[in-house]
Subunit: 584 residues, 2 copies
């Protein structure tokens, strides 16, 4: 239907007669003898000149163009000409040429669009755009994001294939796994109340593939969790899933580092240095108050044990240099509320904020109440502040938390992140978007409860000693571990460590059996593809890198999913509606 | 954990000290001073020699090896040596070398396996093997199949990427579509009886991507159908899904032909000639009695209109040369039962089988009753048989079917396929496995009911005038069509042709709306990846090209999916078990 795409036309086509197809936009009737328009396709935009002197039946074609709404589909024939030099601006090669139109044909008229996706300033709210996703996806940002996603997946697959990994599809119709996150159920007609469940990850399947001798497995796998949706969570998401036999942690990390290097080179044209920095969980949480620290900036937290005599308490200090001068008291409000929430959540025992005033560090005790147990140790705090050369105008956070819980995020860690964001917004802190600070977080505490595990835990409480997370600029890209590969150890962990009931242990019977049939030592990792692409495209929301995302409510506002099932449909599966589901 | 894989070792490694890991097999204690064993990994097998003169603590290592069961995991250190020339047989490069073992370490003991996957003759039935899939997958056939599948997917992706197609993931959590095949429902907690449904294909999403301007889309997509399972159907399957804008049927067929060429070159090292042969639906069903004919052999069906005076009847003849001599009367039984079943199904009005005896074609009337309406036309039949030079000993099938229904398979078509298989088994017909007879079947009747459509119909009754199927050696590899792209036509088809209820039409509202917002002319195709890989690997069953298939019952016999959901789990979704689902 076309001889060229709009995007490919350039000066080398000048003089050629071509046929193009695409969406009409910016139609302007300049005079009785001239109409300007733009023709857009997936590859670029071409300026169209419809001149009376050239076009037979000009009056009719002019009338036709006048009636077209934005994004009507047209086909045009014409001759490529060079644009006048003073108009050949812009970064697209097609800006250097334009098309002298011979004829215009309407391929599909368009009703008035609910919004114009090409005018960024006038875009409606996200829900309106999600409800008309076919139009929103015409935006150049989303076009780019989805194409970068495709290229990223291809780069990953190419690397994995080149490195001897076998791409193996694992089932989506799986079974419910006790103790995991809530899973979507899929009723069947097989038997009374029998359901498949959608997998949270291919974790069990990939371990079985190791037992089956596949040695190097990967898959870009769809995964599912029926969680209460947070702002940036999707009920279905995609992960790059990798597992290897006969390997150490270092072997897996090496593959991942080279994979990341390959992706960044292919997609960003940026060289990433390897090996990545290793940091223990203890260092990350004490120095940055987070198990996924953004290390592109300092603002490190200091442990000051002399502030407390309570053996059960960790006393910490965060200093924001000059913070009390940069922010007005009003501007400090977000930090104050963060502290308030952390007290309600009992994340910290007590956290307080202070300004160091003109009298120097001696002023500290006067500003506000100090954290409870530190009260008696003001002199120790003063000594500390002197030792770090704290100055008048600095902002000071002092916090106490329990020695016995090591949360993935401490209150000071959250304050550090928020304060950094506020400083950046004020132009007082440089957090370079083009710096990629990859980190391995290692040495996780044994048997902690997992709250946000990309690697699809089969159990929420899991042995994490051999675990590692890959972190980039404060974002957890993925995580993995060296797995338990022998039957006895696995049984011991299930029974004695995790104290699973016999019934729950039974449901993992196939795993234990497979380990007992000659399963090699193995380990792996999983990366969140959605997050990875969001970083590569600089997208604030995962919804901007997914072609058809669900809204925060879990609904597809465009296709109208989910939809009520009829009693007859449910009866096919031997189930019926009982009552409204409990409120989320 | 290893310096090399078993598969990569060759004569160039002779003299080197290496460390290997893998599964022990064929352990044989040859004498007090020598133990033979084989070490297998994902890449090959190496012969191990454990000699007293070399191994420190030989007695202990010998005892250890004696206690190992098949497929115990071991690591060995040793020196690569050349095998004696008279033993260096076999097609693997590793056969030329063996390993003089210095030490053996057990990495994971194995319980006795329920069956030995390496002894083909002793394999248990498929259900036993499916129940121990981690062991069955160690078989070299399945290892090869799964690896070929990975390479095939990679070849497809590489070709599509090279040709400017964008790989776009579409949702698995979709909504139920009226009038399609039965879909799996996924209850949600969003509202009373609200369910997602698993998609039968990405059909609607890919059309929306065309409306969104993606121009060239592809995806290797998981699809789902809750059908009563036939022997070789899976509730989840994978299709290569392709859609293009601004194209004709020929453009799509050209891309597909080049894709097929690329796959066959990459995977089979075979050059496929293009363009593929085109055949109309009418020719396929009349000449081969099938809309997916195997054209590697003749045995064509002849229409003989003079056999009947009934305008509403098609009279057809199939001759199997020498068939009455090749097969005994007992051996003809499968053909007789096929005829009987076709009569019960009313597929044909009447079909009869005859032998042409020594008296020549004149004997025909005596053998058995002729099909009813032909009875009065025996002389016309004789004339026909003379015209095709039918001879004594030929087997003859005469059939009548309604003029007004054109089934995808006629009775004579089924008889042709079965007779060909029987002739092949007797060595009387050559159907070369290495001949790839690709065909486009086109010009489908308008508005027929679709029964087996790879391309994921949104409606079972669909406009099929612009439809095309890709057929290979009697197998439907896929199908597609040029879609309706303008709103008015789509509405007309929904309302006036298909006579959908307003309620059903509403559920397609987003599709109609999107067509009205400037949707380009577009079309596409979908290929069944499972079938494609089955052909490439010469596998008889789709289950042999899927890592974790469901048994014919729909169950995963290994992971034990589906499993009963608890009342508490169902209550989360506001549903409860009503009664056992109706029998399938």
């Amino acid at each position: 239907m076309r001889t060229h795409t709009c995007g490919e036309l350039g000066v080398k086509h000048v003089g050629q007669h071509v046929e193009l197809c695409g969406w009409a936009q910016s139609i302007r009737v300049l005079s009785d003898t001239l109409v300007f328009a733009q023709l857009r396709d997936a590859y670029g935009v071409v300026q169209l000149l419809v001149e009376r002197s050239r076009v037979s039946g000009f009056a009719e074609q002019k009338r036709l163009l006048e009636t077209l709404t934005t994004d009507a589909l047209i086909g045009v024939k014409g001759k490529v000409v060079k644009r006048p030099d003073d108009m050949a601006k812009g970064d697209s090669q097609t800006r250097e040429i334009e098309l002298l139109v011979d004829s215009v044909q309407v391929l599909n008229r368009a009703m008035a669009l609910p919004f114009n996706p090409h005018v960024k300033a006038n875009l409606p709210g996200e829900d309106v755009r999600l409800a008309h996703r076919h139009i929103d996806l015409r935006r150049s940002e989303l076009q780019t994001n989805i194409r970068v996603r495709s290229k990223t997946a291809m780069a990953i697959r190419q690397f994995m294939d080149d490195n001897g990994f076998v791409d193996i599809e694992t089932p989506v119709l799986f079974k419910s796994t006790p103790e995991g996150a809530r899973e979507f159920l899929v009723p069947t007609r097989i038997g009374l109340s029998e359901c498949y469940a959608l997998p949270q990850s291919p974790q069990q399947f990939k371990q079985m593939l190791m037992a089956a001798g596949f040695d190097r497995y990967f898959q870009i796998a769809r995964c599912f969790r029926d969680e209460d949706l947070r702002a940036d969570r999707q009920p279905e998401f995609t992960q790059v899933d990798i597992e290897m036999s006969f390997v150490s942690k270092e072997d897996i990390q090496d593959v991942l580092e080279r994979l990341i290097q390959h992706i960044w080179r292919q997609i960003m044209n940026v060289d990433i240095k390897t090996p990545f920095r290793r940091m223990t969980f203890a260092e990350a949480t004490s120095k940055y108050g987070s198990d996924k620290p953004d290390t592109r900036f300092g603002l490190e937290i200091a442990q000051v044990p002399q502030l407390t005599s309570d053996q059960n308490t960790v006393a910490e200090v965060l200093v924001i240099p000059n913070g009390a001068r940069i922010f007005s008291t009003k501007e400090l409000a977000p930090l104050t509320s963060l502290i308030r929430v952390s007290q309600i959540n009992s994340e910290s025992k007590l956290t307080s904020m202070h300004k160091i005033n003109d009298e120097g560090v001696t002023g500290i005790g006067k500003a506000t109440l100090l954290a409870q147990s530190i009260k008696g140790n003001v002199s120790a705090l003063k000594d500390f502040l002197v030792s770090i050369s704290a100055r008048s105008g600095d902002l000071l956070f002092v916090s106490e938390r329990s020695q016995h819980i090591t949360p993935a995020n401490t209150t000071l860690g959250r304050l550090r992140t928020l304060a950094a964001k506020m400083l950046q917004d004020k132009g007082k802190l440089d957090i370079p978007a083009d710096k990629f600070d990859f980190l391995w977080i290692e040495d996780f505490p044994l048997f902690t409860r997992q709250t946000d595990e990309m690697n699809g835990p089969t159990l929420q409480r899991q042995v994490r000693g051999q675990h590692y997370d890959l972190v980039l600029n404060g974002v957890e890209l993925g995580g993995g571990s060296i797995r338990v590969h022998d039957r006895q150890t696995q049984e011991y962990i299930f029974k004695d460590i995790l104290q699973l009931s016999p019934q729950v242990r039974d449901s993992f019977g196939h795993l234990v059996t497979a380990l007992g049939h000659g399963c090699p030592p193995h380990g792996g990792i999983a990366l969140g593809l959605d997050r990875l692409v969001a970083i590569l495209t600089g997208s604030a929301s995962l919804r901007d890198v997914i072609a058809f995302p669900k809204a925060a409510s879990g609904r597809d506002l465009f296709m109208h999913a989910p939809a009520p099932a009829t009693p007859e449909q449910l009866a096919e599966y031997g189930i019926k509606v009982d009552k409204a589901p409990p409120k989320k």
